[in-house]
């Protein structure tokens, strides 16, 4: 306990901040243990994590918002306030966030420039929203295009967290026909570690987990091929869904208000994208573990997957072809049938020719003549 007090009392650290806010050591360790589990780290890491976070100086964070709806900020700041997740966020030094900061105009931009200068190479850059490349004027902040601001701010960042599907993969702004030429952060910045935390919006604890990992180890968590932390995006919603047993038994709701839906059967036939969506919704759930879309009776729309908006109708089962039009299908069928007929004709004529060429085998013809 003595040691804990010592840690907590170090001035200017996260630990001190927690103590000031009346968060007990016990509560803090509980939080660290649950994060350790969520990050799929060994249990012994919980105390190491607690120590690291307590000692950590407030991490300078610059948050840039581009073509976005502020849903990601809503999710992270308001979802289940006031919890430890939020407090951790309060305890980072959020030096620039144009929705949350009090300053405006030149003062605001000055805060960003100052933070970049003071913490060069150390600050964490969080981005939500996609970047329009179609025309720099489509989205500007203080007269600076999103592209230029991203490139400028990214230069001195230790790492970049692309929060939300827009920043991670382009999201809804990039949906066809993509009028603004929207792209993801990773399409522009190639020389910095980028952690994608997709979702529309992403789950708050995933954000917290990534941040804590960064504070604890000074590195980014293990990522999958789409740049997502494996600990949160390693499994599909479907694999972790509490309705999975119904799927396995072939019990499906056919409409949102039939008896099967009331019985809580699988929503696959109503368009649930759970089987192809990698996210932690079914395990961590939303609103302080209250529920998640499938539990509320609506299928997963796959919002954390790239191009989810263009991946076919939200209410059509995955087994129904999504993008092909009936003309395309008809043409493909016609081409396939024609190719089939041609190959069949060719093979039949090969075989017919072989049959014609057949010379009756006699016992005198079972050996080859010696040459």
């Amino acid at each position: 306990m003595k040691q804990a007090e010592q840690l907590d009392n170090l001035p200017g650290t996260v630990g001190e901040g927690l103590t000031q806010r009346g968060i007990s050591r016990r509560e803090f360790l509980k939080f660290c243990s649950s994060l350790t589990a969520l990050l799929a780290l060994p249990p012994s890491m919980a105390s190491a994590m607690a120590e690291a976070i307590s000692k950590a100086r407030r991490q300078s964070v610059i948050w840039l918002s581009f073509q976005e709806c502020t849903g990601c900020t809503e999710s992270i700041t308001r979802s289940h306030s006031p919890t430890l997740e939020n407090l951790i966020f309060d305890l980072i030094s959020l030096d620039y966030h144009h929705t949350l900061q009090a300053a405006s105009a030149e003062a605001a931009e000055h805060a960003r420039e100052q933070a970049m200068k003071d913490n060069a190479g150390k600050y964490l850059l969080i981005v939500d929203g996609s970047v329009p490349l179609g025309n720099p004027g489509f989205s500007t902040i203080a007269g600076i295009s999103n592209h230029d601001m991203l490139v400028e701010t990214a230069k001195g960042a230790a790492a970049i967290v692309a929060v939300g599907t827009c920043a991670a993969y382009g999201g809804i702004p990039k949906a066809g026909p993509n009028p603004t030429g929207a792209v993801a952060v990773g399409d522009i910045i190639k020389d910095k570690p980028i952690i994608n935390v997709p979702g529309c919006p992403p789950i708050p604890v995933v954000m917290t987990g990534v941040l804590v990992h960064f504070l604890t180890f000074g590195s980014i968590p293990e990522l999958d091929e789409l740049g997502r932390p494996k600990s949160f995006y390693g499994e599909t919603i479907h694999d972790r869904c509490y309705r999975r047993p119904f799927y396995d038994q072939g019990k499906f709701a056919q409409s949102f208000d039939d008896e099967a839906a009331r019985q809580g059967w699988c929503l696959f036939k109503l368009g649930c994208k759970g089987p192809v969506t990698y996210n932690a919704c079914a395990t961590t759930k939303w609103n302080d573990g209250t529920s998640f879309p499938i539990q509320s009776g609506h299928g997963c729309i796959g919002c954390s997957e790239p191009n989810f908006w263009d991946a076919g109708p939200l209410y059509k089962a995955l087994s129904v072809p999504a993008s092909a039009t009936s003309e395309m299908l008809g043409a493909a069928a016609a081409v396939g049938a024609a190719a089939g007929v041609a190959i069949t004709w060719h093979n039949r004529s090969t075989k017919a020719a072989a049959n014609t060429a057949h010379e009756k085998v006699t016992v005198q013809e079972l050996t080859q003549e010696k040459k």
Binding site: N355, A357, Q364, L366, Q368
Partner: protein
């Protein structure tokens, strides 16, 4: 006229049908067929993997019947099948495949590999790559009438012996009889007990039957060498005789491939359904038993086991009949491990027993059967295929195992209740 590579390749093209095309395209290269092949399990040599034995046929399929394969052929990317390659494959397709059908049973995608090997032999025979022993046997079958060179007078001599021993007339050329009885050369030369046992059983059961002087041989070397033209000629002798004598049913003897040749391949070879039924002798005997016409007395107290011939059990579906028949007369019947449809082959079917150079390999792979027999602890093994019987007897001799092998028909006849009690011949063992 002579066999040639081009004839062989042409035959490959002819035999590739929808099943073979789908088998080749659905093979997932899992290698499970290897574990089902006794030539692989007993030698550990990868070349004995059943699907590998089909490689030349697979390449012809790929080159002639698939889009990518024909492009590859045009661009000389895939090598053509050569005489040298077929020479190399000859021992794989003939010496080390008994057409036992185990691989077809285990294939997870349902490929009938045995069917493919049988078809591949068409091209091997047409290209002159069949083993010389099989060529000689087939030549005798076509020109003399039997692969072992037996002619009707030899059968007549045996008929005389049987009549003298049993006092029962053996009907010959009897038009309108219910059953036409066939024999295998092996039974005529090595196991004369069969005809004698059959005469007595049929006499007791009141069965009307006959032999045909021009169609006594049931075996079909054309099937083993893999030439439909020759197999058709051989099977047509039986069909012609059966239709001439207007029999209702032809009885395939205690011989494995003869049953396959007549029952399954026969109508396809002839291109028409038969006007008569084809049954294996065990099916007929079991019917007689069920009808109460096969009466036996007493039980054999020796521990007995039964070897399922591949073509009769696995490929022919006659599995329960021998067990029902044995339960009538066996006091101590013991099943071998893997008995029934998954029984291990004797190692000499599908023509292998006729290939002299294959003998060391045949004896080597017999070890699996040896283990099966030893597991039962019996001294007497019953079977229903003269070829299995001779192969097993030779191997038992090689391994110095003192085990007697008997045919099921003759064993039944030993316990037959006969009304005109004639002297019951003492049990005959070994080769006559």
């Amino acid at each position: 006229m002579t066999a040639s590579l081009s004839k062989g390749i042409n035959a490959f093209k002819e035999v590739i049908d929808a099943p073979i095309a789908s088998f080749f395209s659905s093979c997932v290269h899992c290698g499970l067929c290897a574990e089902a092949c006794l030539f692989y399990t007993e030698t550990g040599e990868a070349k004995y993997t059943p699907i590998h034995k089909l490689e030349p046929l697979r390449r012809v399929w790929q080159q002639e019947y698939t889009l990518l394969g024909s492009l590859g052929k045009l661009l000389s990317l895939s090598k053509p099948v050569t005489d040298e390659e077929l020479t190399e494959w000859e021992p794989l397709v003939y010496d080390s495949c008994t057409l036992c059908g185990c691989c077809s049973m285990v294939c997870p995608v349902g490929n009938d590999l045995t069917y493919m090997i049988r078809k591949m032999r068409e091209g091997m025979a047409a290209s002159g790559h069949a083993p010389e022993d099989l060529i000689a046997a087939t030549t005798r079958a076509i020109t003399i009438g039997s692969p072992m060179g037996i002619k009707w007078p030899a059968v007549q001599a045996q008929i005389k012996h049987v009549q003298a021993d049993t006092g029962i007339e053996v009907p010959v050329e009897r038009e309108g009889a219910d059953y036409l009885v066939l024999m295998s050369s092996m039974e005529i030369i090595n196991f004369p007990e069969y005809l004698s046992a059959l005469s007595r059983i049929f006499k007791q059961a009141g069965v009307s039957w006959t032999l045909a002087s021009d169609a006594f041989e049931a075996t079909n070397s054309g099937i083993q060498i893999g030439s439909s033209d020759l197999a058709r000629e051989i099977v047509s002798r039986i069909v012609v005789a059966a239709e001439r004598l207007k029999v209702k049913c032809v009885i395939s003897p205690e011989c494995g491939h003869a049953f396959t040749a007549l029952r399954w391949e026969g109508p396809n070879l002839m291109g028409r359904p038969f006007g008569f039924e084809v049954k294996h002798i065990l099916e007929v005997l079991d019917e007689l038993r069920a009808a109460g016409k096969l009466k036996t007395r007493g039980k054999d107290n020796r521990p007995l086991t039964y070897h399922d011939p591949c073509q009769i059990a696995r490929r022919g579906g006659v599995v329960e009949q021998p067990r029902r028949l044995l339960s009538e007369i066996a006091a101590d019947f013991r099943e071998m491990p893997d008995a029934g449809v998954m029984n291990w082959c004797c190692g000499g079917g599908g023509g292998v027993s006729a290939i002299t150079r294959a003998e060391p390999l045949r004896l080597q792979v017999f070890k699996i059967k040896k283990g099966q027999i030893e597991a039962t602890g019996v001294q007497t093994l019953v079977t229903a295929c003269a070829n299995c019987r001779i192969v097993i007897e030779e191997a038992l001799e090689h391994y110095h195992m003192k085990i007697e092998v008997v045919g099921l028909t003759e064993l039944l006849a030993q316990y037959l209740v006969e009304e005109n009690a004639s002297p019951i011949p003492s049990p005959v063992s070994g080769r006559g």
